[in-house]
Symmetry: C2
Subunit: 419 residues, 2 copies
């Protein structure tokens, strides 16, 4: 039995310690193969019930009285994320705003704390919103933005990164797992490198949280943000999280002085005096339905355990690579993710000149949902919690048949909107 | 039949053109009288169904494909708010982030556009988050913050306001309806006053949107923000809206350069190049469940019609004032809202030394939910869409009996958390 036998996939499923958890998610069409869990995770069944309960009972019946429960939800949910996924302590993570707004808040907090330093370092393949946020801050504050060149497969070049970080560097901001290639950055090593120059590091965990153990405390990480609608399965646009190492909290100030960051908020006093803890990094009224969905999503991940999720992610992506080598390389696909599973997160990308058309055809004719990323990447993200190995086999089989038949050529080459 | 007869309330309900719409909302306990609709509006029945549909069908079944629908939702919902509630044009309003974050974004956009001017004007009774946001901006940018003294009943003094706005003023930011007293600012007159000095005005519509016609276009208003969880009935922490007059949009830039503001967002290009329209004022991935709830809530308001809502709001608060004069003034209550219904929004506040204890007792023993606002206000917000006149009568009757009996004195005088 070789990896290209369907029976191999079936045997992997039979031995999968996470296999039983797939039932916790809503699956409407069992024939649909969803390989975009790293863009929008599936809906946990418990979330449906929780949303209904929050809406009908807490909001509809409890009305304003339910704030007694809701007020602590963002911090409680942050504690759950901290402990179960990020290797951080309770009180170091809170759910708030969007990833982009959190990036902005923490970047400004870091820059304000680093007066006299005038350089921000990031990489040119970082996720767009990360690049735009620091581009905006550099422009507004007259700082130099050093965009380290990234290898399209392996991420930011470590030597270039080391050269870019110096005594002028206020802030380094990078993605832990690259959104296209899945290249996994060495969070601890880069943090240590930056600290040697006195720089602070702001990590984007969007593509690693819930799929790769993050171990923020062990790395002595300063700041991090991440989204909840990918591996955390909290739903479209669910609120993001942010992390600030405890000993930094009292000395950092974020720039958006909203009333939820205020000490003794409901005295509604005359001047802003922020909470001494993680709450000072929050701003406005929390999105209660969204935070509740985050809590539900993370509870399933916590039950699975991040180490088991990571192990399955390694195996599934390795299986994808094996099948791609066998079936797709001859059809013009090129692996543009690290071959070493220790160097990547839980998705892979394949380059193909017709990637856009293949993606459309795949969704519309093969009932497989991959992801397209400009300009020519097909991104495959099997979520360890919700994807079976046999689905990986089946998706790759459908994909090779589709491209082999040329069915994708019926689709226009001009790219439209893909989210 | 005088206003203090219950029969008077019943006759008002019988003639209420909005009375039939109360059935559109979830009412779990018909004996509970909810006078806090201006803090958290009731749950529309249609929202329950919509949330379930968005979660189960759009997210659970449609998965990432549903972004084809979701991507336009914040602007579409903004258009609905613009037309039905704000007297603005389609393309001038979008749903995004929280009120506080929107205040920050638009305040910075205005300040950046007014280089050479170094003063921000607001009033000392403005809602805390409004004051804190501009306090933070003034501190960060070295600007002068002029806090105009507010009358506790009638809001910012027009003469002091006129004196504070001058050629140095970059931005004036005020609430349209004051959160405690309900004092209604003259939006058109103040906008014109500020424009004569070349200042921009940023209005907070949290307590007016959905209860008072706003007429932004008629006033030539520049900028506005508002929340959706009060009169718009979109649920706890639902996303807020922002308004930017169309001719200002292309020349203003908000500071948080997120990917949802980017032109051709999904090309994920190298530099930030914002959309030319209202979308440039958005930042990250929109909170889809929350925006859907906003749309449901606003649709009921649109059906009612803002003029009818306003008229009922005037009558209900007038009725509250009549009953307070008759029953509560002898018990130590003092009206701290304008007596003239044209000068106030749709809630009233009563001052009482024991306001905190009365509020707790009211909720826990009288099954009436008013609101407490520091230091000594009882705030009564009968939502025109969901409150009947007979409930107003009944609430005031229970309140006078409670205070008359001294039952509130069993509660501690020390204030706890009230949201």
């Amino acid at each position: 039995m070789t990896p290209i036998d369907r029976a191999h996939a079936e045997s992997l499923d039979a031995g999968d310690p996470l296999g039983h958890l797939a039932d916790r998610f809503v699956v409407d069409d069992p024939e649909l193969i969803y390989l975009d869990g790293n863009s929008l995770g599936r809906l946990p069944r418990s979330t449906l019930a929780r949303l209904a309960a929050v809406a009908e009972h807490e909001w509809g019946s409890g009305l304003i009285r339910s704030w007694d429960t809701w007020i602590d939800l963002p911090a409680r949910c942050g504690d759950l994320i901290a402990r179960s996924l990020l290797g951080a302590e309770p009180g170091e993570v809170v759910v708030s705003d969007s990833t982009s707004v959190n990036l902005y808040k923490l970047a400004v907090a870091a820059l304000d704390a680093q007066s006299g330093r005038d350089v921000i370092v990031t990489d040119d393949d970082n996720f767009p919103t990360d690049r735009y946020i620091v581009e905006g801050l550099a422009a507004q504050r007259g700082l130099e933005l050093r965009m380290v060149a990234s290898d399209p497969v392996h991420g930011p070049d470590p030597d270039l990164l080391a050269a870019a970080i110096d005594e002028r560097t206020a802030l380094v901001t990078l993605s832990h797992v690259a959104y296209r290639s899945a290249a996994l950055a060495d969070l601890a090593a880069i943090t240590a490198l930056a600290h040697r120059s006195g720089a602070l590091v702001l990590w984007d965990l969007c593509h690693s949280a819930g799929s790769v153990p993050v171990e923020l405390a062990a790395a002595g990480a300063d700041l991090a943000v991440g989204c909840t609608y990918k591996y955390l399965n909290a739903g479209p646009g669910a609120p993001a999280f942010l992390y600030v190492r405890r000993d930094l909290q009292a000395s950092l100030r974020q720039p958006i002085w909203g009333w939820f960051g205020q000490r003794d908020q409901f005295t509604m006093g005359p001047g802003y005096d922020p909470e001494p803890d993680i709450r000072r990094f929050t701003v406005g009224t929390p999105a209660v339905l969204g935070v509740a969905a985050v809590e539900e999503g993370v509870q399933v991940l916590a039950e699975a355990g991040i180490d088991r999720l990571r192990e399955k992610g390694r195996r599934m992506t390795a299986y994808l690579v094996d099948l791609a080598d066998e079936w797709l390389a001859p059809l013009g696909f090129e692996l543009v993710s690290p071959r070493d599973p220790d160097r990547r997160g839980s998705h892979i990308s394949l380059r193909h000149d017709d990637a856009w058309r293949i993606c459309r055809a795949c969704i519309e004719t093969a009932n497989v949902i991959p992801d397209f990323r400009a300009p020519d990447r097909l991104r495959l993200g099997p979520a360890p919690l919700t994807t079976r190995y046999v689905e990986v086999w089946e998706a790759m089989d459908r994909l090779r048949r589709l491209v082999g038949s040329g069915a994708h050529l019926a689709y226009g080459a001009e790219r439209g909107r893909v989210t």
